[in-house]
């Protein structure tokens, strides 16, 4: 970070970091971010611009989730977005909470929340029976 000067030349040192959870989380944020650029921005444009919340009903959702393509799109979006968002929240919280015991507790609660949310919503989408609403 010390390289920000008026000089046009900056020194880049590359070194291998041992793999650990924080490194994995760092890489996951960037990889899932690229995926979410397509999936989340796509979701916003498709569902909120091309379609509109003004016409949104459970029947509309059923028409979409009648095809496995849309189900897989939404499940993939769920799997990337929830861990990305909760890990981002964890990064922010760790800037303000310094007690190691509290940090550990928060990390466990957030991890539990990610697992519970992803499993619950995946089951909900996978088992959703579109024929009940047509």
């Amino acid at each position: 970070m010390a390289a920000a000067t008026s000089s046009q030349k900056i020194t880049v040192r590359k070194f291998q970091v041992h793999s650990n959870f924080e490194r994995f989380a760092y890489l996951f944020m960037r990889m899932s971010g690229v995926g979410l650029l397509i999936l989340a921005v796509g979701h916003m444009l498709i569902q909120h611009v091309l379609n509109s919340s003004a016409n949104l009903t459970i029947e509309f959702v059923a028409a979409q989730w009648n095809s496995w393509g849309w189900k897989v799109y939404d499940i993939l979006l769920l799997w990337l977005a929830i861990p990305h968002g909760i890990n981002g929240l964890r990064n922010i919280l760790e800037d303000y909470i310094h007690n190691p015991t509290t940090v550990k507790l928060i990390n466990r609660l957030l991890a539990l929340f990610v697992v519970a949310t992803v499993i619950w919503a995946t089951i909900g989408m996978a088992l959703f029976d579109a024929s009940k609403f047509q």
Partner: protein, 154 residues
């Protein structure tokens, strides 16, 4: 908690220019998206587990204040996406750090070019929805009663 208040105060006072503004906007938009995302995911799962609650909630989401919130989330997603890509590129390309100020400006430009027409379009949709209801003697300023969706009860 006191460090959080200190951060909010100093973040607003600190004159860190474009990089600082991007850092704040990325965090604020991230928190806004996550807040709605969590509600949205648990709500959407109800389409299977509790259809009546889901059918009611999508009707409630047409309420004008919620619709304006939808516009805010649209802005947050677009900015967060483009700025996130900027962060990713610069993380893997330290040779380009000398361009970080310009890159922050480019992200704001792309965001505004996309968001402004979308915002106008979505806002006119809200106005259209409300005036259509008004033409039928109804109003969009009414929270639908839960019992209206009893036919979806499982």
């Amino acid at each position: 908690m006191s460090s959080l208040i200190l951060t909010i105060r100093e973040s607003l006072r600190y004159r860190g220019r474009s990089g600082h503004v991007s850092w704040m906007a990325h965090r604020v938009s991230g928190i806004a998206i996550l807040t709605f995302l969590v509600i949205h995911v648990w709500d959407t799962a109800n389409a299977h587990f509790w259809p009546q609650a889901y059918a009611w909630s999508v009707a409630f989401f047409k309420y004008p204040l919620v619709a304006v919130g939808e516009l805010v989330i649209m802005a947050a997603v677009l900015y967060h996406a483009f700025n996130g890509i900027r962060i990713t590129i610069l993380d893997f390309k330290p040779e380009w750090w000398m361009h970080q100020q310009r890159s922050a400006t480019i992200v704001w430009a792309i965001f505004l070019v996309l968001f402004i027409p979308i915002a106008i379009y979505m806002f006119s949709g809200i106005v259209g929805h409300c005036s259509e209801l008004a033409a039928h003697g109804s109003t969009c300023w009414q929270i639908p009663p839960f019992s209206d969706f009893a036919k979806y009860a499982n």
